[in-house]
């Protein structure tokens, strides 16, 4: 199998995974809107949770994946790792945008303000900006090897920075709900809602996988095409 065929195969896998997860997403939406009770305190606005929380969780995970892949890249110097790290960062940034849009939409009715400098909001904002910086940097470096090295350095530094930002802004804590899911005691949420939320998270993780696979394949194909152009000239 040629590299081109393999890349095309990867792209197709990505498309299939994406298609499946989009279907599942529709299912989750139906369940969220029609078969999950309306929150007593917040009213229908609370429905945003089923997008907002999964999208937020997935994007943070995407950045973590990018950081870890960067670390491995520096050790092994395999171009594929760089490609995967970049794909993860890009999808993470896209999901972050979704988080940063759904959050304020939710915040306005519930908190009465679009934005507040609470610890979790702020730290996510900075992490988001850090990875926007990562993508800007990638754009500004022409040589692929140099780009990979520089990106890896920023990815690793970002990974290390996250806990520090978290600690820092925690002292400004205010409104945002504390984790209801990932905490030492049992989840504090009605069972029906919890199931909807968990399945939504599952679906978004699948969507993430689909996007990253496709993005990775596109990068591989681009590289191939440029190499072919090189050989022709």
């Amino acid at each position: 199998m040629t590299r081109r065929e393999r890349a095309l195969g990867t792209a197709r896998t990505g498309q299939v995974v994406t298609a499946i997860s989009l279907l599942a997403l529709a299912g989750v939406f139906v369940r969220a809107l029609a078969f999950t009770p309306v929150d007593r305190l917040q009213g229908p606005a609370q429905k945003i949770l089923y997008i907002h929380a999964p999208v937020a969780f997935t994007s943070l995970m995407a950045f973590a994946v990018c950081g870890v892949l960067s670390l491995i890249y520096l050790a092994m110097r395999d171009r594929r790792l760089d490609r995967a790290a970049a794909a993860s960062a890009e999808v993470g940034v896209a999901f972050s945008v979704a988080m940063l849009i759904t959050g304020p939409i939710w915040g306005k009715p519930v908190w009465g303000t679009w934005w507040t400098w609470d610890a979790r909001l702020t730290s996510t904002l900075f992490i988001f900006l850090l990875f926007v910086g990562y993508l800007i940097m990638r754009d500004a470096v022409i040589d692929p090897d140099q780009r990979a090295r520089f990106s890896a350095v920023i990815g690793i530094m970002g990974l290390v920075l996250v806990p520090f930002i978290h600690l820092t802004v925690y002292l400004f804590r205010t409104l945002h709900p504390n984790p209801t899911l990932l905490k030492p005691s049992a989840p504090s949420m009605p069972g029906v809602m919890l199931v909807t939320l968990l399945s939504s998270i599952g679906v978004f993780l699948l969507l993430y996988a689909g996007f990253v696979t496709q993005r990775y394949a596109v990068a591989a194909l681009q590289e191939l095409r440029e190499e072919e152009m090189l050989r022709d000239s």
Binding site: L129, G133, F150, M157, I165, T168
Partner: protein
């Protein structure tokens, strides 16, 4: 390489940077002007009937330091790029980390000088009294400065090689400034208010942790920015 030789090389780089800066004085004067400008903008920006100058003082001080450092960092690596001078260093048998430590030392010197001049100006402008608490202020300043100079030196080493990228240094560096600058502001506010040391401890611990982690990390990562 024996420690004495290592130190000698680091010192040679610092001395060279200091000499270049001394000859031109541009970066230093720009940083000072910027410091004065920021101190006065923030001084005049407050509504004097609502906010006392003492309350905005810690923020003013740290914003000043942060941006002055940015000016210095940017310049330090531009200098090496101008005639490809970095190549001259890379050809020699000195360890890569010595180059990093040397450049970082030069930057520290630069920022420390700007700070040393800003602090009296700040005391004058904002009419704060520091009786006996100056050592504390110097300590926290030193801790925070080391943190952001370490990260800034590494990032400017990369940014400088992406050409036309002066904006990118702030874009990449600012997220890394949040923990040290916020901690420093918090500690400074408590120092100025005469609070006990115990109230500052969590922040100081955070700062110390940041310093240790990032000093080690940046030295380790520097080499990865070089080998082309």
């Amino acid at each position: 390489m024996p420690v004495a030789d290592y130190a000698r090389v680091v010192w040679a780089i610092i001395a060279k940077d200091a000499m270049v800066e001394w000859r031109t004085k541009t970066a230093f004067l720009s940083a000072m002007v910027f410091a004065i400008l920021v101190l006065s903008i923030l001084f005049f920006a407050r509504d004097p009937t609502a906010v006392s100058s003492l309350d905005v003082a810690p923020g003013a001080l740290w914003v000043t330091f942060t941006f002055a450092a940015m000016v210095g960092l940017n310049r330090a690596f531009l200098l090496e790029r101008e005639n490809g001078a970095m190549d001259g260093m890379l050809l020699t048998p000195i360890p890569r980390t010595a180059i990093f430590v040397g450049k970082m030392g030069g930057n520290l010197l630069f920022v420390a000088l700007v700070e040393a001049i800003s602090i009296p100006l700040f005391i004058l402008f904002y009419n704060v009294s520091l009786a006996g608490r100056l050592p504390q202020l110097i300590l926290v300043t030193a801790m925070a400065t080391v943190a952001f100079v370490a990260v800034g030196t590494l990032l400017s080493a990369m940014v400088v090689r992406t050409r036309f990228a002066e904006l990118m240094l702030p874009v990449l560096l600012l997220p890394f400034l949040i923990p040290p600058v916020v901690s420093a502001v918090q500690v400074t506010a408590r120092i100025l208010a005469g609070r006990p040391l115990s109230e500052m401890m969590p922040w100081l611990k955070l700062l110390a942790g940041f310093d240790i982690v990032f000093c080690v990390l940046t030295v380790l990562l520097f080499e990865a920015t070089l080998d082309e």
